[in-house]
Symmetry: C2
Subunit: 189 residues, 2 copies
DNA sequence: CATTATAGTAAACATTTGTTCACTGTCAAG
DNA sequence: CTTGACAGTGAACAAATGTTTACTATAATG
């Protein structure tokens, strides 16, 4: 019952990107006294789903996040209450929202490292990269993802596809790097 | 300047999971009149970063989301303002938060479909699956990800790894499915 | 039975909220 | 030089906010 109401609240936040006021919760929960709301809210604050800072109500990370389960050998992992971590994907994957963007992958040049056509990669804008980074770079007026590598013999950097069908790319003059791939995301179906 | 202030607001929301009140914004932006805040807010509402519903201020999806860039042949994709889509990963990846959880992948049985050790998969809890789904199932008291398949000759379902080193698994009695993988997520580094 | 906790109603209240109005200084354009 | 737009100050205010207090009904416990 109280869980149902928390779900109502979650749905409201998901839809409106804010918490409802107590008066709105009256209708939302079917109460007719704000005090009922008040008591309910305090329970959720105690349970760490919500918090009050400077008198203002706000969700905690537990409010949003999905449980993250590790590798448990026996018994259904979801039942292990104590080991539960909570994670929101945005927080987990995106380090610096200011300088990041998403890129829909086309082509099969990175299948060797598990990046397929249609995947979305999170790219952090920057012009330098470490050897081994997966970088977004411009080659012959076309944008591609490649691995940033160093040729020890020729003593120069080059780009390598993670797919044996593609040849390595040695830049004629300089190599223009625009970003480094920080995460990969794939929706199935 | 106005962009700086929007970033201040974004940082506040990221930290507190709510928007500040006008009085709080006074200090946040360094104003000394609430009217200055009021006018600034209205600009952001016009620019569709914020919205007001039922008199309450809330962020729009544009406020949070990262730009999603498609495959653009020439020119730096980020510059194409019009084609910008915005996406928050949580919204994109998680269909039904109520019945979903995250699972950290161990083992190499699914490398063939680009799921590696350490990846996180989003699992939707359910007991049935379609042929071809990647399912979370219990085999011999151990949890694994496998592909749900059907043997046309024997006319029975079985589980198959996406890695030739693992044999297919034919259940002795019944096959217990606990969820279907809806998305894969990988952090690099 | 009596008791105690739980879930909710109802009314009252100080505080804070977002908004409005009148005004000031600055800067660029005609 | 004037004009108008822009960015901000300062004060005032009705409406809404979260909280408190007192009370009721229901169910669970011993």
């Amino acid at each position: 019952m109280i869980q149902d109401r928390l779900n109502i609240l979650k749905r409201f936040f998901k839809k409106n990107r804010r918490l409802p006021s107590y008066s709105e919760m009256l209708k939302l929960f079917g109460f007719s006294s704000k005090n009922a709301v008040f008591k309910l809210i305090n329970k959720w604050v105690d349970a760490n789903f919500l918090k009050k800072d400077s008198g203002k109500l706000a969700p905690t990370s537990k409010f949003f996040a999905l449980p993250l389960l590790g590798n448990i050998k026996a018994g259904f992992p979801i039942l292990a209450e104590e080991n539960k971590n909570y994670l929101t994907l945005d927080e987990y994957l995106i380090g610096d929202p200011q300088s990041s963007f998403l890129l829909k992958v086309s082509g099969d040049s990175m299948t060797g490292v598990g990046i397929f056509e249609g995947d979305i990669v999170i790219v952090e804008k920057k012009k330098e990269a470490y050897i081994g980074d997966i970088v977004l770079a411009q080659i012959d007026n076309e944008w591609t993802l490649k691995i940033f590598k160093k040729d020890r013999v020729k003593k120069m950097v080059f780009l390598e596809a993670a797919n044996p069908h593609y040849p390595p790319f040695y830049p004629k003059r300089e190599l223009q790097i625009y970003g480094v791939v920080r995460a990969v995301v794939r929706k199935i179906n």
